[in-house]
Amino acid sequence: MASREHLGEFEQIVLLAVLRLGENAYGVPVRQEIEKRTRRSLTVGALYRTLDRLEDKGYVASWFSDPVPERGGRSKRYFRVEPLGIRALRQSRQELAAMWDGVELPKAMHGR
């Protein structure tokens, strides 16, 4: 790859959530997983905007389920992380690990 696409922090979080959920990765659990683990609130708008962007880059793929009655007869849009996405995640982790290697955060900044 000539110009490596760099993953943003939120993109990493979304990709990891999809990975964690495996077969069950559609909107509701993805959003809840991220809220539960990161303790930040997240809107569906922001979530789908990011997922659409990741799909455009080929990092995730999505497909639709059959209609579900509890959802007013609407289908779920499922996501799966693609090999390109795995590669990007791995690269991000390596970069971060390289940067973290040997870093000791000053005591004061640990806080709380």
Partner: protein, 882 residues
């Protein structure tokens, strides 16, 4: 189970995404039904999707043709268009600016026309007010004061009393000038009205009462008046005890009974200062009592329809009454014109307003046309650049309609931005135009009651104009660009087809032609104006004061007027610095003219002739020599002898190769007049026209009541004027005396041509600017498209000058053709400007040569700049260029 999922959110999703984000809606429903969050949370989620969400069309929901995507398609088209414009700020700026100038000028002019003649009268419930005018055929004669379409008092009474469709019908005499007596007499403009005038218009006085029926009961009685708020404040210092006070109008005492509300300035475009009952027509100093006359046109009718009555019912009902009136006079046939009440609604005025409005709107329409051609051209050039993109879209299945829609959205966006900016310009230009026109009107122009800004009508006009504009300049480029010749387009590397070239050239030609017409018109007018400033009218205008006063309005009869005039002339002649005084019926080059018909003994037929009544001093004071025969003597003038002095042209016309002295002129009902002298031609009647038939007659005793005075003084005008005022007031303190420089009469002639010249000039300049942007755009586009060809030519040894010449030649031919068309077009229509050209031919060679030269050189410059760029092309870059 949680509460029901809000329908509104479903609706918003449909509007925003149609069905392409159903999965997200499903997510929200699932969480809502599971009781995850509050209503507030739900709305936050839903709105985040509105704001941030993107469309992902879902194959599980088959598309319902193209219609399904109409809204979301428009939405994405709009965003796409906004994005493309943002990416080309230069193009966007030029296009929006051009359109906004075009729409701005148009809306500004329309605002003025709307204020003057289109909007209903500014009174409560104006939609129910109708104006009534009549056309009468089959009458041998009818007396007219004002216009033939007006009514007599007996006619008015029939319509008022016999109709069943109006809740009230008022009548008024529109043009009344009177003198308000007092320490400082002043001229007032007002109306004689029927006594229900204020009731019909629903404008009850702010102070005191309106007229009551008893005020109008008896002819020559009812000496009461209602003042305008403005007159009350300026002249009577807003005296709260004004009601009941006596004022003097034309030497008649009137009792003030009320003050009109502040916003009401009458129903004429000139602001009214007072109103008096129609019965006071004769006492107010008119020489004829026409109040009861059945065959006298002098009253305008305004009625208010009863609730629920339609215009056609009004027409039918009043036509019955008209038919009854017709039966009283054999052969009389009356047709009524019934319209919504507006300013300048009199048919005679309408005709003029419509003509002026049409000329103005077509001039500004031309500017908008240039702007449209310009933007269309830019769009075409851009579309040619996007040919490949468009071809790809077509080949992967986009329909042509879909593409046109997207391209039109882009042009609509430009039109809307331009329209919004243009409306701002319009508000500004409305004030500028009004201020400009009023500052250039002659001195004696009256205050107007039509100073109104934009209203809903103007807004509607601007919106409509914007939409039409968007389609006009967008449609043809969109049609051109989306032609489905996918194959050729894909093969070519970004080069537009031949036919779009031709179309672009036609557009440039149109722009040049139109701005050429505007500029030549401006050039002609400016030449005429220059001539008017420098023209020698053939008589002395400097150091001459023109003095006028209204003796009839002050109750003088002919005998007293004669005595008074003699006294005044003696006093004025004795003033320091004054060396000559003369009487004249009309001051030279004023806007009033007197004409008559005479015949020559032994010759069949009548001749129209203009004349002026003068005393003997007239000729020496104005420096007009008597070239043959003699002047009147003082005694001949005093007695009004049957003598005449003719001008050289008149003598040449009627007695070629003969001596005119001693010839006889026969006038119907007068004693025959003998010609005693011949005066040198001078432009005393129309500026730049001296070869008219014109007579000077002695200012006899019968004419004394309306004589004006010319005073020649060596001193500064201001001190002479003060002296004249004081001298006349010492004889009659109640007289309103107007003293003006004789030179000011020239203003009457120059003002219209100055106004039109500056308007046409600025529109023409605007048009030229836009046309040059167009030329520039087309040439730079052509150059950028031919970089490769130019590179090859240069590599093969063509020199820069040759390349430049090639580009210029191809760029200039549509310009030259457009210029020729423009010249021909202007030559065809310039006749309508003739009255403002002061002797310059409407085909004045100077204007027809210089203006095209200027325009062509500017166009040449506009194409030279990009052409020069072409020769700076590096051959290596050019060859690799795709």
């Amino acid at each position: 189970m949680a509460a029901k999922f809000p329908r509104l959110i479903v609706l918003l999703f449909r509007l925003r995404f149609l069905r392409s984000a159903e999965f997200a809606l499903g997510d929200l429903m699932e969480e809502w039904n599971a009781g995850t969050g509050t209503r507030r949370w739900l709305w936050r989620q839903a709105l985040s999707m509105m704001w941030l969400g993107t469309e992902r069309t879902h194959s599980a929901y088959p598309q319902r043709g193209n219609n399904m995507n109409l809204i979301s398609g428009f939405w994405s088209d709009l965003r796409y268009a906004a994005r493309t414009l943002r990416k080309n700020p230069g193009f966007a700026f030029v296009a929006v600016l051009a359109i906004s100038l075009g729409i701005g000028v148009n809306t500004g002019i329309f605002t003025v026309l709307n204020g003057v003649a289109l909007r209903p009268l500014p009174v409560p419930g104006a939609a129910d007010i109708v104006s009534v005018y009549q056309t009468i055929r089959g009458l041998k004669s009818r007396n007219v004061h004002g216009a033939p379409s007006l009514f007599s008092w007996p006619e008015y009474k029939s319509y008022r009393d016999d109709n069943r469709v109006l809740s009230g019908l008022a009548a008024y005499e529109p043009f009344l000038d009177v003198t308000l007596g007092g320490a400082q007499p002043q001229q007032l403009f007002g109306q004689l009205t029927s006594c229900n005038y204020f009731d019909v218009l629903n404008e009850p006085p702010a102070l005191g009462r309106a007229f009551s029926a008893s005020d109008c009961a008896v002819a020559r009685e009812g000496a009461v008046a209602v003042l305008s708020d403005n007159l009350w404040r300026t002249t009577f210092a807003a005296d709260p005890a004004i009601v009941g006070r006596k004022i003097v109008l034309n030497r008649q005492p009137f009792t003030v009974i009320g003050v009109a509300p502040a916003g009401f300035q009458g129903t004429e475009p000139m602001a009214s200062q007072f109103w008096a009952p129609v019965t006071m027509q004769f006492p107010l100093g008119r020489d004829i009592d026409w109040f009861e006359k059945p065959d006298m046109s002098w009253l305008v009718l305004l009625g208010r329809t009863k609730p629920g009555v339609s215009r056609s019912q009004v027409r039918a009902d009043l036509a019955v009454i008209a038919g009854r009136i017709d039966q009283l006079t054999p052969d009389r046939k009356t047709t009524l014109q019934i319209e919504t009440g507006r300013f300048l609604s009199m048919p005679e005025e309408r005709k003029y307003v419509t003509a002026v409005g049409a000329v103005l709107l077509s001039a500004v329409g031309m500017v908008l046309l240039i702007a449209c051609a310009n933007v269309a051209n830019l769009l075409l050039a851009r579309a040619a650049g996007r040919q490949k993109e468009i071809a790809i879209r077509l080949s992967v299945g986009a329909s042509r309609g879909r593409l046109i829609r997207q391209l039109l959205t882009e042009s609509m966006l430009i039109a809307l931005l331009g329209g919004a900016l243009g409306s701002l310009i319009a508000v500004w230009s409305f004030e500028a135009i009004v201020g400009f026109v009023f500052s250039h009107l002659p001195r004696e122009a009256p205050p107007v009651a039509v100073g109104v800004g934009p209203d809903i009508r103007v807004l509607g006009y601007a919106v409509l104009l914007t939409l039409i504009t968007g389609i006009v300049f967008g449609l043809i480029p969109a049609l051109q660009a989306s032609r489905p010749d996918v194959n050729t387009a894909l093969k070519q590397s970004g080069i537009g087809g031949k036919s779009s070239d031709g179309f672009r050239h036609a557009l440039v030609g149109t722009q040049v032609a139109v701005s050429m017409m505007l500029l030549i018109a401006a050039g002609l007018l400016l030449r005429g104006l220059y001539l008017a400033q420098t023209i020698d009218p053939g008589f002395e205008m400097k150091n001459v004061a023109a003095v006028s006063f209204d003796l009839r309005g002050q109750g003088y009869d002919a005998a007293r007027a004669g005595i008074f005039q003699r006294q005044v002339m003696d006093r004025l002649a004795a003033l320091p610095g004054v060396d000559a005084v003369t009487e004249a019926g009309n001051t030279p080059l004023s806007d009033s003219h007197r004409g008559t018909v005479f015949s020559l003994p032994g010759h069949p037929g009548d001749y129209q002739v203009e004349f002026n009544e003068v005393s003997p001093e007239f000729f020496s004071l104005l420096g007009i020599p008597i070239v043959r025969g003699r002047n009147f003597t003082g005694n001949e003038a005093r007695t009004g002898a049957a003598l005449a002095i003719v001008t050289e042209s008149t003598a040449r016309r009627f007695w070629p190769n003969q001596d005119s002295i001693g010839k006889i002129l026969h006038m119907e009902g007068e004693s025959d007049m003998q010609v005693i002298g011949m005066a040198k031609d001078a432009q005393v009647s129309h500026l730049a026209r001296s070869n008219e038939t014109y007579l000077y007659l002695p200012a006899g005793p019968k004419q004394q009541i309306r004589m004006k005075l010319l005073v020649h003084g060596a001193d500064a005008f201001a001190s002479t004027a003060t002296g004249i005022q004081a001298a006349i007031h010492s004889l009659d303190p109640g007289l309103v005396v107007d003293v003006a420089k004789l030179e000011d009469n020239l203003e009457v002639w120059r003002a219209p041509s100055r106004i039109v010249a500056i308007l046409a000039g600025s529109l023409g300049a605007l048009g030229m600017l836009l046309a040059c942007i167009g030329v520039y755009g087309v040439v730079s586009y052509a150059v950028s498209r031919r970089v490769r060809e130019i590179g090859i030519r240069m590599t093969l040894g063509a020199d820069a000058r040759e390349v430049k010449r090639l580009i210029l030649r191809q760029a200039m031919w549509p310009v030259v053709i457009g210029a020729l068309v423009g010249i021909a077009g202007c030559a065809a229509v310039s006749q309508i400007l003739k009255s403002m050209l002061f002797g310059i031919s409407p085909h004045d060679p100077l204007a027809f040569v210089i203006v095209p030269l200027v325009l062509l050189s500017v166009a040449l410059l506009a194409s030279y700049v990009p052409a020069r760029r072409a020769t700076k092309v590096d051959p290596m870059v050019a060859l690799r260029y795709e």
